[in-house]
């Protein structure tokens, strides 16, 4: 069954057609990549799916339920978690307190899988995603943490929310190769425990290695969809977007 079904999404900002008539579907337990040059409407698409923007036309079905135009917090509570391209930590709070906020959400309360106080749960999650528990890092305010940790903190939010469908909006951007290498296994682990993952990415090498399906966007339209192998062979995609990357 199609887990997430996006039908004919259109979103305009004034005269700018940010997303035009995009349809695709995601199967449960798959890892789907969305790629495309800058300004092709990837993030707008994510904002529409997660409720941060309301589409002009089109519907989003999640698990058979129509979630088009619902509040972002409602959609999050239904099980779609997302990270932001521009990291959005709570700068004044210590890293572990950052996760206390999602842990207070109705979804986590309803699932009731976390025991003990929120602080210790949060420290457990942080340890899982690579914050050294015995160091001072989890206790430092988010404002002094390096970018790599902030990206992990973004990930921590969806881990805390136990989201079933996770959308990573350029998680790897701004990270060094070493940092990417250390975060990739975390994504694969989410995938292995049965979560569905959508990744928006510019790092095609890393994405193609783990994605089961790739969707290519350009100027707000979907121009190709298929397995990473097919996408790499697709003439249209090759010519317009991946030219340099595929010369080797």
């Amino acid at each position: 069954m199609e887990y997430l079904n996006v039908q004919g999404i259109t979103k305009t900002f004034g005269g700018i057609m940010a997303v035009y008539d995009v349809s695709f579907s995601v199967d449960k337990g798959s890892l789907v990549g969305i790629i495309g040059p800058n300004g092709s409407g990837k993030t707008t698409l994510v904002n529409v799916i997660t409720g941060f923007l309301k589409p002009d036309r089109g519907t989003v079905l999640f698990n058979g339920q129509n979630i088009t135009g619902l509040r972002a917090s409602r959609i999050t509570n239904l099980g779609i978690g997302r990270t932001f391209q521009m990291v959005k930590p709570f700068y004044r709070l210590p890293a572990f307190k950052n996760l206390v906020v999602p842990l207070s959400s109705p979804r986590v309360k309803r699932m009731g899988e976390h025991y003990g106080d929120k602080d210790s749960t949060s420290l457990d999650i942080l340890e899982d995603i690579g914050f050294e528990r015995d160091s001072s890092v989890p206790y430092k305010p988010a404002s002094v943490l390096p970018h790599g940790y902030l990206k992990r903190l973004e990930m921590g939010r969806v881990v805390a929310l136990q989201s079933e469908l996770v959308i990573f909006d350029e998680l790897f951007s701004g990270l060094s190769l070493a940092e990417v290498a250390s975060i990739s296994p975390l994504i694969e682990r989410l995938f292995e425990v049965g979560k569905t993952v959508i990744m928006i990415e510019h790092r095609l090498k890393e994405l193609f290695r783990i994605a089961s399906k790739v969707i290519v966007m350009d100027l707000g339209k979907k121009i190709a969809e298929g397995s990473p192998k097919d996408i790499m062979q697709d003439e249209q995609v090759k010519k317009a977007y991946l030219g340099v990357e595929l010369k080797r």
Binding site: T76, R92, V101, P102, L103, R157
Partner: protein, 335 residues
């Protein structure tokens, strides 16, 4: 010439010792934590006892304004910078006045009832502006009280320009002092506790990033309404208290200085701590009164002092004092 040294700040040993449960290890550690919390309470208590009748009355008003300032800082900590705290004050003041005058309810009913009613009305009035952020929200809050003031003037409802007078007084000056002073400390310590609780963290997070709060599955509008309700109820209490203290309520409840004072007190005291605005208000309130001898020049001196504070101590008095209390500073050579 290039600076060859820099200032180094290190936590005092005792600060590090008192960060966790070991703060109970000795009397010295316990007092390190308790003195800054208890000393101001005791000092203010004795100050009220020793001053003359005139200054007692000044202090009552100062306490009320302090509560307004704490409420302002609380809302600012939630990312809701209000420039119209007079609105919340006036809603409480008029609620108490109307209930007392038209319904004949006694003071001990109108005070709590006006606190809640004022909070509810204020929240409803500010609600349409809650989807705005930053300066846009501030401007709307600035406009609403000015608008309502003209509405009352034009329609002559609830007393019109003359206001309502001959209201029930508070039972004596001593009880007025007791009520306002207790309310001040209760508001300060309970709000300070609240914003460090797990639930309160959500409010603090609103300032840093409300979209991330939304992405955490929490409805930000609902939390902003709660913040406004808490903040405005506190001010509504101030308004209701002053209504009965003056035994009248009028359009001056909407006055702009009621909106400006909390901002000034917070700027002097230091933002985001709740104790900062208390410190600032306890200085600015009596100071404004003490400058009365200068006549018209009072405002000039007052404004000049404010500028000196802002330029000299932009972080705020409380942050400065706390840094000195918790850290040692020394110059180290830059190698």
């Amino acid at each position: 010439m290039i600076e060859k040294r820099r200032k180094e700040r290190i936590d005092r040993g005792i600060k590090a010792c008192t960060d966790d449960i070991f703060c109970l290890s000795s009397l010295r550690e316990i007092s390190y934590l308790l003195v800054p919390r208890i000393l101001p309470v005791v000092l203010v208590f004795f100050l009220v006892l020793v001053v003359s009748l005139y200054w007692k009355k000044v202090l009552v008003i100062t306490f009320v304004m302090t509560i307004m300032a704490i409420s302002w800082d609380f809302l600012a900590s939630c990312g809701l910078i209000s420039l119209g705290h007079a609105l919340f004050f006036a809603m409480g003041a008029y609620s108490a006045g109307a209930m007392n005058y038209y319904l004949g309810l006694p003071v001990y009913v109108t005070l709590p009832a006006a606190t809640l009613l004022g909070g509810v009305i204020s929240s409803m009035l500010v609600f349409p502006a809650l989807r705005l952020r930053g300066i846009y929200f501030s401007v709307v809050t600035l406009i609403i009280p000015l608008m309502l003031m003209r509405v009352i003037e034009a329609t002559k409802i609830i007393g019109g320009t003359e206001g309502i007078s001959a209201l029930s007084p508070l039972p004596g000056l001593a009880s007025s002092i007791a009520i306002s002073m207790t309310a001040m400390w209760v508001v300060l310590f309970s709000l300070r506790r609240f914003i460090t609780s797990d639930y309160g963290l959500i409010f603090v997070a609103l300032l840093d990033n409300d979209r991330a709060v939304e992405a955490s599955g929490l409805n930000i509008v609902w939390f902003k309404i709660q913040a406004i309700f808490i903040g405005s109820s506190i001010c509504a209490f101030c308004g209701a208290f002053m209504t009965h203290y003056y035994m009248s309520v009028g359009m001056s409840a909407f006055a702009l200085d009621l909106s400006i004072f909390p901002v000034a007190a917070t700027v002097v005291g230091g933002m985001g701590t709740l104790a900062g605005p208390l410190l600032g208000a306890l200085i600015l309130g009596p100071l404004s009164e003490a400058l009365r001898g200068f006549g018209t020049f009072r405002i000039v001196f007052y404004a000049a002092l404010l500028v000196v504070f802002i330029v000299g101590l932009p972080e705020g008095l409380f942050h400065y004092v706390r840094r000195k209390y918790e850290q040692i500073e020394r110059w180290v050579e830059v190698k």
